[in-house]
Structure formats: structure tokens, C-alpha cells
């Protein structure tokens, strides 16, 4: 991969791309000036609050809002009647499939309340206190129904039915009776039974994972104002303001052009802010009250009413020859979708065996509804669960055959040309390089003591491209204004500014990047699928091409030269041959001074549907220690090696590796939704939803592998999602190494660990 891939570098020869630049939006974030969702206010705004169902499953017989509407200070009350019903048509939203009939029902319950916390009504009032009192005056008649939470129970024939019009798709013949199984999907490669016939060793295990939440520290917040002619402005913390605009326009029957959405700074999303919760309510309330309406979720509402990922039951059966060749891989995945269909079981099915070159693969997946908040994407949605199960079985095969776990993975690793279980052959990929990098670390070669264990696991995510629109404008003094349309959560503006600087040959600090609202650029798909740096940088290159072509044309006019007498190189239009004696090269700054005289403002709009997203593979290594008397697990050491293709900004790529690893540590050890028998969530807060704190984890060492992606001008691969895939398997494998017990249920919390140790009489120091 040539370093600049044929792209001109900065005038000073030093590249902005790949350097650890200070992010241009950093100053506001370290001084408290940066404005997140709840920091926006408008004069005369009302406060919006939502009335949520206390029941996990109930028919809504009637809603009487008269007393609430009569309360002084209440300016608007909305219910299901304020949202026209929608047809059931599938559309993408973030990384999940959703249909509008479900979206409108999730935003505001219609026939039934389908989970505790489901929105049933909302009010807008002149103060928080009045809004809270108004909610208590809304009289909702519920007919409470039996509920079901666990995925296996939800699949049982006699389980309480959430939707009496839900018939399992993907099953032949088409079932007549409705069920909680929305969809069955299946992929096949070769003949898995024949494969098992050739196996010397077969391992068949079942795994169970609990629902977990993305855990972003900033609760959802939205501010909306609707004027008499329907012109609507929304400020909201989201991963995709164009998607919010589209959903709100559809749900409220408005022209997309009438709605303008500004993405505020976003306090973390991880896939959970690709869905609309408050925006449609705030717009509907503002429409009725004719005043701006601000709505902010409490932490309890975030846990009860926003979309965590699936809890799941996964069976994995693998066969291998005695020298370690995988000959067959079967898996059956049952994922919770929450109240409406659309769990990430499909990507889970595709990713299960993706890291490995196996001739015979058969994977079945079930998308199952249950009385929980509708599932939303959580970083490589579906993949951590299925790959945890496969990596656990791979580890067991390695130990039973006495083969080094890295060696076993190396023997079976997917390479360029390997046919993925989900069909197409891989291009150049970096799994082997990540395995080799781990093998060479001092961490891999350090001895451990009793009750300590080391685990390794690999992981994969597709990454996507998608519709992206950005703009570059050269200002009068030659500085560059960059506008992107995908919300910047973790350093995107720094990465894009570096690309723009190198493309146009201006210093990095002369580029000012901002995130434009929906009125400023063409359609942008959302920040998700690890796409924003990949697609954004590709679009910046296109925008820069247009500008460079324009500058070449202006130079030709100025110098009365033909195009073949000039070229763009190292940040300037340069005269060639004889012309070089007569004229000096012109940089962007030079053209900016004469822009008016040579045709007007200098700008380029990059408009693409980014194709060629290269998958990113990673391998994680973890050491941990178990206290046999209490079951407590301490993470001693952690190393992440992952293929970034080309790291536009190394520090923020490392940050993705470290953040994903620690989310994985939480998922593996202590995070879970705890439900009572009453179907209600018992730990809807940061006290008892135990996310890792600073003192729980060591430094997370990172190895930046760079196997270039040929389809990207700089070789970039998306990196944001793969880091959360390997930790679950790596930690489970380390637990087996430390205790001799194969833990097949997440989280591996102290009560479960101590019980397993005690059952084997191992709970002594």
C-alpha cells in the first residue's frame, strides 16, 4: 500500500493523516463550553415529560387526559391519537431493520403496552413540577396481561403472545398460528453433517448471555419547535440527524424538507442513539402547544425505555480433525428482539464463523420478541454474542487437542480468498497479522501463577460504507471550512480535517471541521457500522478532487495554458515545461485571493455512496485472577491487536480499541439487566447496572495492525465496532484457564463463579 496512495501530501511534506493531531473540537470539550443535547434552550420553552407503562404487558383500554389538560401550566398532552398509524414496511435504521408500524408503536404505545417503561402519553408544561403533577392526573385503564422476558420461554408454544398478527417468516410452510418468533434465518455452506463425519473431535455446547445496555453517560435529549406553517427545527443528541429527520417526517406526516435537525455534541451512543424516542414526541407537543418543547430522559428512563442489545441463547457444535483442522461448524442462535421484531440475529448468524475458513457451515437464527424495550444496535450488533460462543468452543478444541490456541486459530484463519460463511470471498484481511502480533507481545510470554488465567479470542465485523455528503469551502484567506454530515462521537472531525489538509496541501490547523445540520448538506446515513471515518474521508477526497480540478481550470485561464501544461502536486497547481519559467506555482491561499476574479467562491461538495468497506479483524489477549473464596474476578492485563487498514488518527483508533475492550469486560463480568418475577427491571441505574469503573481495569495495551484496504484512497478500514467482539470469548477462555471450569453463561459475576467453584469443592485459597 503506497503511503499516500498517490495523494498529494501537505505543502510542508509532513502529513496530517496518521499524525496525533489535537482535535479541533477539543477546546470546547475540556472547558465545558461544548453543547450536548440537554444544553440547548430556547426562550419560552416548555418542559416535556413522558408517562410510561408500569406494566410489562397490558392492553390499553382507555386514556383520559382531561384532568391533566385542565391543570394550569399544562400546554399540551399527546397520546397514540396524535400519531397516524403506519403501514408495515421494512426500512433500515442504524444497523437494524425496522418497520414503521413498529416504530410508531414504540414511540407511543397504541393497542398494548409491551414493556415496562413503554411511552403511553406525554405532556408539555411551563415547569418540571407541573409536568410531573400532570402525568399523575392522566388516567390510563390497563388490562394487565401475562408477560414473558426470557427468549427460550418466549419461543415456547404456550408463551404469552405479544402480537397476534406476527407469523414466523422464513419457515415453510407458512405457519397459521401467530408466535413470538418473528423470523427464522439460515445460512449453509457445504454439508455440515458430512463435515462432522470427518471430525476426530466434536464439541457441542450451549451458551446464555444476558441483555446489556450501551451505557452512554449522556441521556437522550431533544428540543423541538414547530411554527404555524409546519416549519420544524429540532436539536437532538443522535448518531444520525438525517435519519431522525426522515423518521419524524414519516411519523408526523410532514415533508422532509420542512424539518431541519441539528445534531448536538453527542455524549456517547454505541448504536443506541440510532433510534428516535423523544424527537417525535417533542415535535408533536410543540405542534400542539405552539411553543418550543424540551425533553430530557432520566437515567431510569434510559435503562427502561431505550434499546439495549439482546439477551440470547446460543448453541455451537464444531468438529475438527486431530491435527486441528476445523471441518464442520453448526450454530443455532436465539436472540431477544424486545417488544418489536428486529434483533441483530442476522449479523450474529453471518459473523459466527466469519474469522475461520471452514468448508461446512450451517447457522440458524431466530428473532424472538419478548416484553422488553425494543432492542437497538450495540456496537457490532449481534456479533459479540455469537462469536463469544464460537471462540469458547475453539478454545475447548485447542485445549482438548493440546494445540496452542493462537496456533489453532492461525491454522484455520480466514485469509484473502477465503469464502466467508455468508457467501463472498474475502479481499486482503489482517486476522493473521493480529494473531502474529499478539504472539510477539511480552504479555503472551509472561508466566502466570495459581488462580490466574490467560485467554485469547479473535473477532470480526463487516463495516459498511453508505450515503455520505460533505463539503469543503476555501475561505478568502485560504483557510478551509469542512462540513460533514455524520455526528462526531470520538474524533471524526480530527480525522477528516487531516485528510482535507493533506488533499489540499494546507496545514492541519487551517482546516475548521464542523458537523452540518440537515439543511446544509445532502443526505447522510448515520454514524454507525464503523462507517463515518471510512466514508467521510472518501467523500472528502471527492470534494477535494472537484476543488483541485477547478483550481487547475482557473490556472489555465490565468496562465493562458492548456491542461497538459499544468499539474496539481504537493499542494499547488504547478506549471510544467516552458511555462515554468513564466509563472510561479499557485497554492490554495494564492487562488483564494483571486477567487472573485477567477470565477467566484472555491468549494467542492463530495457526494458518494461509499462502497468497498473492508472488514476489520481483531485478536484480544487477557490475563485475570480469580479469588476462589469469593468468586471475584480481577483483570490483570489486557492487549488488543486489530487491523485498521490505515489509522487516520492513531490515538483515536487506539481509543476505539480500549473503549470496546472495557465495554467487553463489563459485558463479560458484571453487566446485566436484572428482572423481577413481575417483569420489571430492578437495576435501572448506574449503581446496580455495574459498568467498569477506572479502578476495575488495567491499562489497555494496543497494537495497530495496518493491512491496507485497497478500495479506500488511504487504505482505511472502519475500526469502531470490532473491539467489542473478542473480549467476551477472551475473558471466558481466561476464566477456564484460571479455574478449570468452562463458564457458558454471561455475565461471569461473583455469585455464579463462587457457586461453580463450590460445586467442585475448589473454593479454597
Amino acid at each position: 500500500m503506497p503511503e499516500t496512495n498517490g495523494h498529494s501530501n501537505g505543502t510542508n511534506g509532513q502529513h496530517a493523516v496518521g499524525a496525533r493531531n489535537i482535535r479541533p473540537d477539543g477546546m470546547d470539550k475540556v472547558t465545558g463550553r461544548a453543547r450536548f443535547g440537554a444544553d440547548y434552550n430556547l426562550a419560552g420553552q416548555l418542559i416535556g415529560r413522558v408517562l410510561r407503562s408500569p406494566h410489562p404487558h397490558a392492553r390499553i383500554v382507555s386514556i383520559d387526559t382531561s384532568k391533566a389538560e385542565a391543570l394550569p401550566g399544562v400546554k399540551a398532552v399527546i397520546t397514540r391519537d396524535d400519531f397516524p398509524d403506519q403501514s408495515s414496511e421494512f426500512i433500515p435504521a442504524g444497523e437494524m431493520m425496522m418497520n414503521y408500524r413498529d416504530v410508531v408503536r414504540n414511540v407511543m404505545a397504541r393497542e398494548k403496552a409491551l414493556y415496562e417503561g413503554h411511552a403511553v402519553a406525554a405532556v408539555a408544561a411551563t415547569s418540571v413540577a407541573i409536568a410531573r403533577r400532570a402525568l399523575k392526573l392522566i388516567d390510563v385503564k390497563y388490562e394487565v396481561l401475562p408477560h414473558v422476558i426470557d427468549v427460550v420461554e418466549a419461543m415456547a408454544p404456550n408463551a404469552p403472545l405479544l402480537h397476534d398478527d406476527l407469523f414466523t417468516l422464513g419457515v415453510e410452510p407458512k405457519p397459521e398460528k401467530p408466535s413470538n418468533v418473528a423470523k427464522r434465518i439460515e445460512i449453509k455452506l457445504g454439508d455440515v453433517e458430512a463435515g462432522f463425519g470427518k471430525a476426530d473431535i466434536i464439541v457441542d455446547r450451549e451458551f446464555k448471555t444476558a441483555p446489556v445496555h450501551q451505557g452512554y453517560i449522556e441521556p437522550h435529549a431533544a428540543l423541538a419547535t414547530v411554527s404555524e406553517d409546519g416549519t420544524t427545527e429540532v436539536w437532538t443528541t443522535t448518531q444520525g440527524h438525517y435519519i431522525v429527520r426522515a423518521h419524524c417526517a414519516r411519523l408526523l406526516g410532514m415533508d422532509i424538507g420542512k424539518v431541519r435537525v441539528t445534531a448536538t455534541e453527542i455524549g456517547g451512543g454505541f448504536g443506541g442513539k440510532t433510534v428516535v424516542y423523544l424527537e417525535p414526541l417533542a415535535i408533536a407537543l410543540s405542534k400542539k402547544a405552539k411553543r418550543p418543547v424540551k425533553m430530557v430522559m432520566s437515567r431510569e428512563e434510559v435503562f427502561k425505555a431505550s434499546g439495549p442489545t439482546s439477551g440470547a441463547t446460543v448453541r455451537v457444535k464444531m468438529g475438527a480433525t486431530k491435527d486441528g483442522k476445523f471441518v464442520a461448524g453448526f450454530a443455532e442462535l436465539k436472540y431477544q428482539a424486545g417488544a418489536f421484531q428486529g434483533s441483530p440475529v442476522q449479523p450474529g448468524v453471518f459473523c459466527a464463523y466469519a474469522p475461520y475458513d471452514i468448508e461446512n457451515v450451517h447457522v440458524i437464527g431466530y428473532d424472538v420478541v419478548s416484553n422488553r424495550p425494543k432492542v437497538a444496535a450495540y456496537r457490532a450488533p449481534g456479533a459479540p454474542i455469537s462469536e463469544y460462543a464460537v471462540e469458547s468452543v475453539v478454545d475447548e478444541i485447542a485445549k482438548k487437542l493440546g494445540i496452542d490456541p493462537i496456533q489453532l486459530r492461525m491454522m484455520n484463519a480466514a485469509r484473502e480468498g477465503t469464502k466467508a460463511a455468508y457467501g463472498p470471498k474475502f479481499g486482503p484481511i489482517g486476522l493473521e497479522e493480529t494473531l502474529n502480533s499478539i504472539k510477539k507481545t511480552e504479555h503472551w510470554n509472561t508466566p502466570l501463577r495459581k488462580w490466574q488465567g490467560r485467554g485469547v479470542a479473535s473477532g470480526f465485523w463487516f463495516n459498511i460504507g453508505g450515503e455520505t455528503c460533505v463539503s469543503l469551502t476555501v475561505n478568502e484567506d485560504g483557510t478551509v471550512s469542512l462540513m460533514a454530515g455524520t455526528p462526531d462521537i470520538g474524533g471524526l472531525r480530527a480525522s477528516l480535517a487531516a485528510v482535507a489538509a493533506d488533499e489540499l496541501g494546507v496545514p492541519y490547523d487551517k482546516v475548521r471541521p464542523i458537523i452540518g445540520d440537515t439543511g446544509s448538506l445532502g443526505f447522510n446515513f448515520l454514524t454507525g457500522g464503523s462507517r463515518s471515518a471510512f466514508s467521510g474521508s472518501m467523500a472528502i477526497v471527492e470534494a477535494a478532487k472537484l476543488i483541485k480540478a477547478d483550481l487547475i481550470a482557473r490556472a489555465c485561464k490565468l496562465w493562458e495554458a492548456k491542461p497538459d501544461q499544468v499539474e496539481w502536486k504537493d499542494g499547488a497547481v504547478r506549471p510544467l515545461g516552458a511555462l515554468a519559467e513564466k509563472v510561479k506555482p499557485m497554492t490554495v491561499v494564492d487562488f483564494a485571493k483571486v477567487a472573485g476574479k477567477t470565477g467566484g467562491p472555491i468549494a467542492g461538495l463530495g457526494r458518494i455512496n461509499a462502497q468497498g468497506a473492508g472488514p476489520s479483524f481483531g485478536t484480544h489477549l487477557v490475563d485475570l485472577e480469580v479469588d476462589p473464596e469469593t468468586g471475584r474476578v480481577t483483570i490483570l492485563r489486557y492487549t488488543v491487536a486489530q487491523d485498521a487498514g490505515k489509522a487516520l488518527h492513531p490515538a483515536y483508533v487506539e481509543g476505539q480499541y480500549q473503549g470496546g475492550a472495557v465495554q467487553g469486560i463489563g459485558w463479560a463480568l458484571n453487566e446485566e439487566y436484572v428482572y423481577g418475577a413481575d417483569g420489571k427491571l430492578q437495576n435501572a441505574g448506574f449503581l446496580d447496572y455495574r459498568m467498569p469503573v477506572a479502578s476495575d481495569v488495567p491499562m489497555i495495551d494496543t497494537v495497530l495492525v495496518e493491512v491496507g484496504n485497497p478500495k479506500h484512497p488511504y487504505g482505511v478500514r472502519g475500526v469502531g465496532e470490532t473491539p467489542i467482539v473478542p473480549p467476551l470469548g477472551a475473558i471466558a477462555n481466561a476464566m477456564e484457564a484460571a479455574t478449570g471450569i468452562r463458564f457458558t453463561e454471561l455475565p461471569m459475576s461473583p455469585p455464579k463463579v463462587l457457586k461453580a467453584l463450590k460445586d467442585k469443592g475448589l473454593n479454597k485459597a
Binding site: 469469593t630 430492578q682 437495576n683 449503581l687 467498569p692 461473583p750 463462587l754
Partner: protein
């Protein structure tokens, strides 16, 4: 909701005794405000006691120490001498929440919040501390183990508040220790808590002991049998086993989002033993 901040115990008592409706005392507020925001509590009157000198003072008294009910964990940690005399009580108070919580949380609030999982209460009970109450008919002392009757239920009469704690004088070669189990390293509510205070003779044998367990019953327990299990011993293996068995026998825990019955019983024995061994080391070295 009314907020008052009297500057004398009498003022506070008068406000609380005279008030109709629901009243709450505000010291650090790190439990009270959480419950108010979560609509669990909606008091009509809040009485802030932080302006009352007695609740904020740390003084030596009759060879022991009097600690105001509204002294914060951070202030306890920074006190030059308390940590040497009562390491267990101080480390228990310092385990209540994060650094930020430590800046506000008090032992008075921790006790009166009425949670069986309170961190400072097992250490105070093991220490044999007295709670000094101020009320409409004057002051009275109550052993800390008698203040809490059950979850959220206190032995305080209307208008009574906890003004301070009295830690008794320490015979030589005495010390204490507090341990708790939480799945993370910080920030969790104790799944199990164990406080042990003991005295050893010149030969290193235990002459007196008190063992208290938190989060394993409807209130914080003072476990006499566990103390007897180690008095007279040098805390050798058999004595440790007797201590573990006695601690487990006293547990009446529940299953909840933090731990199972089986887990709490098992870990209560382990923590009681470990805390006793730490207290023993400390006692022998001072």
C-alpha cells in the same frame, strides 16, 4: 417542601418535633437526595443539621472519641489520629461511595438511612460505639446495634436525631478492621460487610472481640457466637473455622439484584475471618 438549617440541636429538635407531615434530616444528603429525585420520598420539611457545631466536631472524651453525626468521610480520613486508634471504623466510612460521595456522606446519614448494607454501621457496632440522640426530652445514648430495627425502621422517637457517636476508650493491643464484598472495586453497595474489633494479651491471644455483619439480614447483626469462637484463641485455623461457621449461622440474607442467599452466607464467613486476621495483625503491632 420547606428547608430549614438550625444552628443548635434544640432548634433542630423543636422543628422536627413540631412538624406535621413527613420530615427528614439532611446531613450529607447522598442517600436522601437520590430517594427524593426518584420519587421514593417527598418530605414536607428538611432539617439541615450541618450548621450545628456538635454534629461537625471530632473531640476526645473520657479516653474515647466523640464524632459528630455530620462529619464527612473525607474529614474522617484526614483526621491525624483517628485512623491509628480506629482503622476499621475509618476504612468503613471511607468505603461509602466515590471520592465525590466521601466529600458529603456522613456516618449519621449512613446509619439513619436504615439500610442493612450500610458500610460504616458494622464497624461502629464492632467498635461498641454509642449513638448519642438528641430529642424533645433531652439526650440519651443507644448502642449503635439498637438504633436500626429493620430496613428503613429506626428506634428514634419523633423529633429525635442522632447528634454524634462515642467510640469507647481502647485498652492496649486493641484494633479493628472492616471488609466488604462488592463485584467491582468501587461504587457498589456492599453485598456483604464484616466488621471485627478485638484485643489481644501480651502473648498474642484474643482476650475480647466483637464481630458485626452487614447486608446478611434485615438489620446489621452483632454476632456474639462469632466473637466467642475466637476469644481465648490465637486465631489459629480451628478458631478461624469456628468463626466462619458462627458467622454463617447468623446470616438471614435475601436474594436480590446484588447477590444470592447462598453467596452471602458463604462470603460472610470468608470476610469475617479475613477481617479478624487483619484486626489481629493491627492489634499485635500497636
Amino acid at each position: 417542601m420547606r428547608y430549614e438549617a438550625p444552628d443548635s440541636l434544640e432548634g433542630a429538635v423543636a422543628l422536627l418535633a413540631g412538624a406535621k407531615g413527613e420530615t427528614r434530616v439532611l446531613a450529607g444528603g447522598t442517600d436522601l437526595l437520590v430517594q427524593m429525585r426518584a420519587d421514593i420520598l417527598d418530605p414536607d420539611l428538611i432539617v439541615d443539621i450541618k450548621k450545628i457545631p456538635e454534629t461537625r466536631a471530632i473531640t476526645e472524651e473520657k479516653g474515647g472519641w466523640r464524632i459528630g453525626a455530620a462529619v464527612t468521610g473525607a474529614e474522617l480520613k484526614e483526621h491525624p489520629r483517628l485512623k491509628k486508634v480506629w482503622p476499621g471504623v475509618i476504612e468503613a466510612a471511607n468505603l461509602i461511595g466515590s471520592t465525590q460521595i466521601q466529600g458529603r456522606a456522613t456516618m449519621g446519614g449512613n446509619l439513619c438511612n436504615g439500610s442493612p448494607a450500610a458500610d460504616s454501621v458494622p464497624a461502629l457496632i464492632a467498635a461498641g460505639a454509642l449513638a448519642t440522640l438528641a430529642g424533645p426530652n433531652g439526650k440519651r445514648d443507644l448502642p449503635v446495634e439498637d438504633v436500626m430495627l429493620g430496613p428503613r425502621k429506626l428506634a428514634l422517637q419523633k423529633g429525635e436525631i442522632v447528634a454524634s457517636f462515642l467510640l469507647p476508650p481502647r485498652p492496649p493491643r486493641s484494633s479493628d478492621a472492616y471488609l466488604r464484598f462488592i463485584p467491582r472495586t468501587e461504587m457498589d453497595i456492599a453485598v456483604v460487610g464484616a466488621g471485627v474489633s478485638l484485643t489481644v494479651d501480651s502473648a498474642g491471644a484474643v482476650t475480647a472481640a466483637r464481630v458485626s455483619l452487614g447486608a446478611v439480614a434485615a438489620r446489621v447483626l452483632l454476632v456474639a457466637e462469632a466473637a466467642q469462637a475466637i476469644v481465648g484463641s490465637r486465631l489459629d485455623k480451628p478458631a478461624q473455622d469456628r468463626l466462619e461457621a458462627a458467622a454463617r449461622a447468623a446470616c438471614r440474607p435475601i436474594d436480590d439484584k446484588r447477590g444470592t442467599v447462598e453467596f452471602r452466607i458463604q462470603v460472610a464467613g470468608v470476610l469475617a475471618r479475613r477481617a479478624a486476621l487483619i484486626a489481629l495483625d493491627r492489634a499485635r503491632s500497636n
